[in-house]
Structures are given as C-alpha cells and as structure tokens.
C-alpha cells in the first residue's frame, strides 16, 4: 500500500492508502474524497479528475503521460497549471509513497 494525501481547495487534507498499481483518481473516488469526481472512470473522456501535483513531487510524477491526456486536460474546468494532471493517469507505485496532490476548486 502507498499513502497519498489529497488537499482540497479549502485546505482540508485526507490521507488514503492505495494499493500499489492503482491510480490516484480511484484512490479518491473509492474512499469518499470529494474533490475528484472521475465520472468516466478513467477513460480519458471527461477531465473531472483534474489535480495539481504538489511541487515537491512534480518531477517524480512528471507531466501528462500521453497526447490524449494533454488534450483532455484542456477540457478541465479548473485553472490549468504546469503541475496539472488527470489523476486517473497517475499510477501509484512504491516510489510515490507519500505523494501529495491538490484538487481544484471545481471539476465542472
């Protein structure tokens, strides 16, 4: 298991244990973290699992993993920043234990 902390727009923090190999969107949706919706379930078809990777983790996590993610990010409702990612595309591994992501003010 890997720990991921989600910080909401209002500063609320929640730390969730996620199985190795699972993605950051599912970690939120299956555990009641509200800042991430993930309505398409991870098909790169909705842009409602937008998150900002914490600066300290940005290099390790990296930018969008595909052209499809890059395109879809443009449809996200919240402000797009250099650390923006679609959390369904961030797979957690041991090397991301302790990862911190922030969720945008809105996903719609």
């Amino acid at each position: 298991m890997v720990q991921v902390t989600y910080i909401a727009h209002d500063g609320t923090r929640e730390t969730i244990e996620i199985a190795n190999g699972e993605n950051v969107m599912h970690g939120a949706v299956y555990n009641g973290v509200e800042g991430i919706i993930g309505e398409c379930g991870g098909a790169l078809a909705c842009a409602t699992c937008h998150c900002y990777v914490d600066e300290a983790w940005a290099d390790k996590v990296g930018g969008p993993g595909s052209k499809a993610e890059e395109d879809m990010l443009e449809s996200a409702a919240g402000e797009i920043k250099p650390t923006s990612r679609l959390s369904c595309q961030i797979i957690v591994r041991e090397n991301l234990d302790g990862l911190v992501v922030r969720t945008p003010e809105t996903q719609y």
């Binding site: 190999g21 699972e22 599912h26 949706v29 299956y30 009641g32 919706i37 309505e39 398409c40 379930g41 991870g42 098909a43 790169l44 078809a45 909705c46 842009a47 052209k67 499809a68 395109d71 879809m72 443009e74 449809s75 719609y108």
Partner: protein
C-alpha cells in the same frame, strides 16, 4: 407505460411557442432512413440549442443537441433527476429502483463502488485475451464463407458472450436474453413490456437465489454478496441493480458495432487507412464512437429553474440527444468528417456526469478488439448488393441487420 404520447395539445403553458419543435426522433422517415444522417443534420437545420420536442413515441420533452447544455444537464443533480425518467413499467406495490441509474448522490457512489472495481480499465484488461480469442473464433466461423449476417454472427455474440460471462449468466440462454431486452427497449413493442418485465424478473430472481448459495466471483454474485457501509444490500436493490445491468449490457455494444460496420463496408479507403495505422486504434475507436453514439439520456426536472435563458419547470422531462451532441460544431470542426487525428474531447456516447456508463471501459475494449481483428482478417468487405439497411424506433439505435459479403 411511463411515457405519455406527445401531442401539440399537451405542450404546457410555460413553453414559449417559438421553442416547440417536432424533430421526428425515432419516427420520421428521415430518421428511419439513416439516423447518422439525421443526427448531424439537426445542427445544420438551425434548431435552437434547447427546444421543446413533441414526439408520438418519446412523449413531449425538453431536448438539447448541444454538447455544453447536455453536459450541464447530465451533471446537474440539483435540478435534474434520473428518478422516474426511465421507460420500464414497474409494479408500485413491489417497486424497485434502477441501480445505480436512478440513485442520487451520495448513496449513488456507494452502490457504484460495489461493481466499479470490476469494470475499471485495469480490471477489464484481464479480459482482453479472452475477448480477442472469442473475436477470432467468431471470424473463423464465417471467413471462408465469404458472407455473413454481421449482427447474428459477430456483432451480437461477441459482446453478449463477454457480458454474460461477466455477469455469471448461462450462454445457452443468449437468444432469450436478447429477445427480452430488444423487445423491452423497442418503442414498437411497448404493449408487451409488462409481460416481459415479469418474465425477466422471475428468471433473474431465481439466478439471484442461486448465487446466494453458490457465489461464483462474477458480477451478480458480487452484488448479492456486496456490502455498503458494512450492510448487505436490500432485496429490491439487489434486483434493481441486476436488472439494470442486464438491460444495459446486452444490446448497446452490438448496436455500435453494427453502425460502424455499415460505415466501414461503404468506405474502403477509410478501412485501408485504419489498417495502415493499427497503433492508432485508440483514436480511431474514440472517433468512431463519437459519430456512432447509440443512445440518449433522459432526466426529470426537480425544481423550476432557468437554463440557457429558458424556464424549465418541476416535472418537465428533459432529453439530451447524445448522438447529436457528438456532432456539435462548437466542439468538433466539420463534425460529420471522421478524422483519426482529432484532439481528444469528451464524447457523450457513454453519457456524462456521475451516471456515466459503468461498462464504458469494457465496451471500448470490445469495440477496439472487434475493429482490429476484423480488419486484420477480413480487410475487404461490402454490404450485400441490393440489401436495405433498416432501423426501427428503439432506445438503442442501430440497424436491424447488416448482411456482408467479401
């Protein structure tokens, strides 16, 4: 019958006359001749973004063909509900909710969590080998014959077999299941709906009992033995969940495959283009799923509010015409053109909002495998000369039959 027959006499007073239309969805000669000519044309015919449609089979309803308005409606749980928006007749004394479709937040997510992990992209990838093997086995059965009826011999058995295995339902009942579901969603057979509903219920309840004593690790078993906040699901909720999956999983993928194969059969150059670029299958599939959406999504307005400058009142019905929204020129340039290099945008084929299709990953996977394997093994094919491609009014849109030759 939950849907009242629409007439212009029954348009409510708060609907401005200039917004009343009768576009002929499902029933007009234009729709029945070719729905995938009908859907893009709605944009070209200068329909208002949000209008009030009068329709003899769908009833009277607000309707949108715009991507942004549909997305707003699909995501607006405050003013719109999926409850009572369905077309399936149910006994009020022994009622069940369509689950998770008719649930609202926050309980909706808890029910989804019972099954979503088994339908995640990662979970469905486990099925890839089996699906590919099945696709090839079906192709083996027709390839040397030089002809087939695509629906019966490929489009239907592929997804239905995968779905029945996923659910833990017997494959030898396939024909009965298909007959039930096709009749139930057909607007032409509404009079049979109550009888079919009870046949399905009797059967599915016996399956639920069976899974209770013999868990098998398939979907129905997961639901029967599922827990929400530590508690088992209520009897009628188990039934509503199983029934809803049963209705949703049988006919959608094969309608999409049928629509796509009619287009492929008529467009040899595009087949060649796809075959030449097999690594681009994700974009190819997404673009074809954009232009060949098969269903639409209804809501009921829960409180008076204004949308796009129009007053909607509590109790009004609302329909997002998703296959048409996927041709919205505000989102896709030259929307009729099938282009495999478009920037990725959210298509509404699997709807949107919290009720977005649970089986979307499985559907996409099946669709991609079908395209790739068929085009690899039967690259040249066409519609049987002289055949007529016909459609009927149904909640899931696709041709009745697709006779192919090669």
């Amino acid at each position: 019958m939950a849907t009242p027959e629409g007439t212009t006499d029954s348009v409510p007073d708060h609907v401005p006359a200039h917004l009343v239309r009768s576009i002929g969805m499902l029933v007009s000669p234009e729709f029945l001749a070719d729905p995938y000519e009908f859907f893009p044309r709605l944009h070209e015919d200068d329909n208002p973004p949000l209008f009030y449609d009068v329709n003899p089979v769908m009833g009277n309803t607000w309707m949108t063909i715009k991507h942004d308005i549909a997305f707003k409606a699909l995501r607006d749980a405050e003013h719109m509900t999926t409850q009572t928006a369905g077309i399936f007749p149910r006994d009020p004394d022994h009622y069940f909710r369509l689950i998770p479709q008719e649930l609202n937040p926050p309980i909706h997510r808890k029910f989804r969590n019972v099954l979503d992990p088994f339908l995640s992209p990662k979970a469905v990838m486990e099925l890839e080998r089996d699906i590919r093997a099945l696709a090839n086995q079906l192709i083996d059965g027709v390839i040397d014959r030089g002809a087939c009826e695509f629906t019966e011999e490929f489009a239907r058995p592929l997804p239905v077999t995968v779905f029945l295995r996923f659910m833990g339902l017997p494959l030898d009942m396939t024909e009965t299941f298909v007959r039930w579901v096709v009749s139930l969603i057909s607007f032409a057979e509404r009079d049979k709906a109550i009888e079919i509903m009870s046949e399905i219920e009797e059967y599915l309840l016996s399956v639920i009992e069976e899974k209770r004593t013999n868990p098998d690790g398939a979907a129905i078993s997961h639901i029967v033995h599922g827990r929400i906040d530590g508690e088992p699901l209520a009897e009628r909720d188990i039934y509503g969940f199983v029934f809803f999956l049963f209705i949703a999983g049988i006919d959608t993928v094969y309608a999409a495959l049928n629509n796509t194969w009619v287009w492929l059969a008529r467009n040899p150059d595009r087949r060649a283009e796809m075959r030449a670029d097999p690594d681009n299958i994700d974009a190819q599939a997404e673009e074809l799923l954009r232009v060949f959406g098969v269903t639409f999504s209804g809501r009921v307005v829960t409180q008076d509010f204004e949308m796009n400058g129009v007053l909607l009142k509590a109790g009004d019905r609302f329909q997002s015409l998703l296959p048409s929204c996927n041709y919205d020129p505000a989102v896709w340039d030259n929307p009729r053109e099938v282009r495999f290099d478009r920037p990725r945008k959210p298509i509404l084929t699997f709807t949107g909002g919290i009720h977005a299709c649970m089986g979307g990953h499985l559907a996409r996977l099946e669709y991609k495998i079908a395209l790739k394997e068929w085009l690899r093994r039967i690259p040249e094919f066409s519609l049987q000369p002289g055949c007529e491609i016909t459609y009927r009014p149904s909640g899931v849109i696709g041709p009745d039959a697709v006779p192919l030759v090669w």
